[in-house]
């Protein structure tokens, strides 16, 4: 996706209700037949927790709540479920930056095609862990609006979001701008590609100058996140810099593989850990027990985590969902994001940055940068 050098900003009025502002914006795409469907995080009838939903009826769009600080999973997976092959229907996807990054990786891995898709990316202040979101939503029925005005609520986002420096939706056709914007009055809509321009152009939004303080707000947020990230990386390194320490770090792991299921870039239909490769013969287990006098079952916990890293660390989009789903509350993402960062540096690769950037192990004629 090409970038425009001069970014024009259009504004949506929100009247203290950014959720309604965004859903009206998406609704117009459906009612003007500019989109056949919108995939967006939306409230379902029985819970305030937004779930990815495919909405085709403009009447139903008011459920859309992409700005809510919640994401029960990385929606790139759900996006893939409707983009597996060309459909001839124009689908607008509203995603977070880490979801777009995962989607870009999944396109490279030939899991889906983007031919029919227009991607709207939201600037992301983070998501709360689901139990925290539900608690806050029970206290505050208008949590989405409150989240953007209340720094206290913003501090309640999950550990991975607090160290995320890629909170702008880089590879999106259209960005929803909330950082440094008075979200109770307006939020910005920024077309970033020709496809985005075309779509926004048909909606008759009014242009405006950049909000004062916008750039500083982005720079401050990036600085804070970078500091926080450096601190977190050091802390995690201290806890994992020997194999014994790492084993202590994952000591409560149940080998449930939820982390792998939640990971958007762990895309194999059948994980090697579910195959006969790791369904050892009893003799093998006995032999391994005899070697050190004892073996923990299920076996291969350390092997599982290291192998998963070897398979996907170069593509880790730092979404944090592996931590969110761990029943043993192991900070899985802290170590995966850190190792991912190291591996990505080694290959000079940034997952999700650009559809045209080949994945590190798909090219072999290039020497590896050190």
């Amino acid at each position: 996706m090409e970038k425009n050098s001069a970014m024009t900003v259009f504004y949506l009025k929100t009247d203290k209700n950014p959720k309604a502002g965004v859903s009206a914006f998406l609704g117009r795409m459906l009612s003007q037949s500019l989109a056949d469907a919108v995939l967006v995080s939306a409230r379902t009838p029985h819970s305030p927790l937004p779930m990815p939903a495919v909405i085709t009826d403009p009447e139903k769009i008011e459920a859309a709540d992409p700005l809510a600080p919640a994401a029960p999973f990385n929606a790139a997976r759900q996006a893939v479920s409707i983009l597996r092959h060309e459909s001839g229907r124009k689908i607008v996807l509203v995603l977070r930056p880490c979801e777009i990054r995962a989607l870009v990786e999944l396109v490279k891995l030939k899991q889906c095609v983007l031919d029919d898709a227009v991607i709207i990316g939201m600037e992301c202040r983070g998501r709360m862990e689901t139990p925290i979101y539900l608690e806050k939503a029970a206290e505050n029925p208008d949590l989405t609006a409150a989240f953007y005005r209340d720094p206290g609520l913003q501090d309640a986002v999950c550990a991975s979001c607090r160290i995320c420096t890629r909170f702008l939706p880089q590879a999106a056709d259209i960005a929803i701008r909330v950082i440094g914007e008075p979200t109770d009055e307006r939020i910005g809509i920024v077309p970033q590609t020709p496809a985005g321009q075309d779509l926004v152009g048909r909606l008759g939004l009014s242009e405006g100058p950049d909000s004062p303080g916008r750039e500083d707000a982005v720079a401050n947020m990036r600085d804070l996140r970078e500091q926080e990230r450096e601190r977190a990386f050091q802390e995690t390194a201290g806890k994992t810099d020997t194999i014994e320490k790492f084993q202590k770090y994952v000591a409560q792991c149940l080998n449930c593989y939820n982390c792998r299921v939640a990971c958007p870039v762990c895309y194999c239909r059948e994980c090697v850990f579910l195959t006969d490769v790791f369904a050892h013969d009893p003799q093998v287990l006995m032999r391994r027990a005899a070697k050190k006098g004892m073996i923990k079952l299920p076996a291969d916990t350390t092997m599982f985590h290291l192998t998963r890293m070897a398979h996907m660390a170069h593509a880790c989009v730092a979404c944090g969902h592996c931590s969110s789903v761990c029943p043993s509350h192991i900070p899985v993402a802290d170590i995966f994001i850190k190792v991912g960062n190291e591996v990505q540096k080694r290959y000079g690769y940034e997952p999700g940055r650009d559809l045209e950037e080949p994945m590190p192990l798909m090219v072999y004629d290039k020497p590896v940068v050190e």
Binding site: A237, T240, D241, T242, I243, E244, F246, Q247, A251, V272, K292, M294, K296, T301, T302, M303, L306, T307, M309, A310, H311, A313, H314, I335, K338, V339, E342, V343, R346, Y347, P360, L361, V363, Y364, D365, K366, V368, E370
Partner: protein, 140 residues
């Protein structure tokens, strides 16, 4: 306590380094007995799991030997292996395994003396590094 003898796992390509090892043997070239050789049909089949498993089972060093670029019998398996290694090494380093413990070299079928040389040097490097932390740790 007896002196430290490193345990080295060498995963080598059938067509080149394995043949070189054979040649070193038939030419009666001496090389350290610390090496356990595992034959691969091509370094292109080197799976990260093999390397990780070797280290977790207590190998002090892992040596990979493949055909020189351009000589791989499967065209580019060796280049793929070469691309994989830095990622595996980066992961191992995070958990305290020095990247010097994992090495990839191109050794052609006729290079028996080179095999001897590389293995001797690698064993010395590992000897100087000392035993791997996983040699005694219980791997869970």
């Amino acid at each position: 306590m007896s002196a430290f003898e490193p345990k080295i796992i060498a995963m080598v390509c059938n067509w080149c380094t394995y043949t070189a090892a054979d040649l070193a043997g038939t030419s009666r070239l001496m090389y350290p007995h610390n090496v356990r050789i595992i034959r691969l049909m091509c370094t292109g089949m080197l799976d990260a799991k093999y390397v990780l498993k070797a280290f977790l089972e207590g190998a002090d060093g892992v040596f990979i030997g493949g055909c020189h670029p351009g000589d791989c019998h499967y065209i580019n398996g060796n280049l793929k292996a070469a691309r994989r290694i830095p990622g595996i090494a980066a992961i191992l380093e995070q958990f305290g395994f020095s990247s010097e413990r994992l090495e990839l070299k191109w050794i052609g079928a006729s290079e028996g003396p080179e095999f001897q040389e590389h293995i001797t040097r690698f064993v010395e490097t590992i000897r100087a590094l000392g035993p791997s932390q996983a040699a005694t740790a219980m791997i869970l």
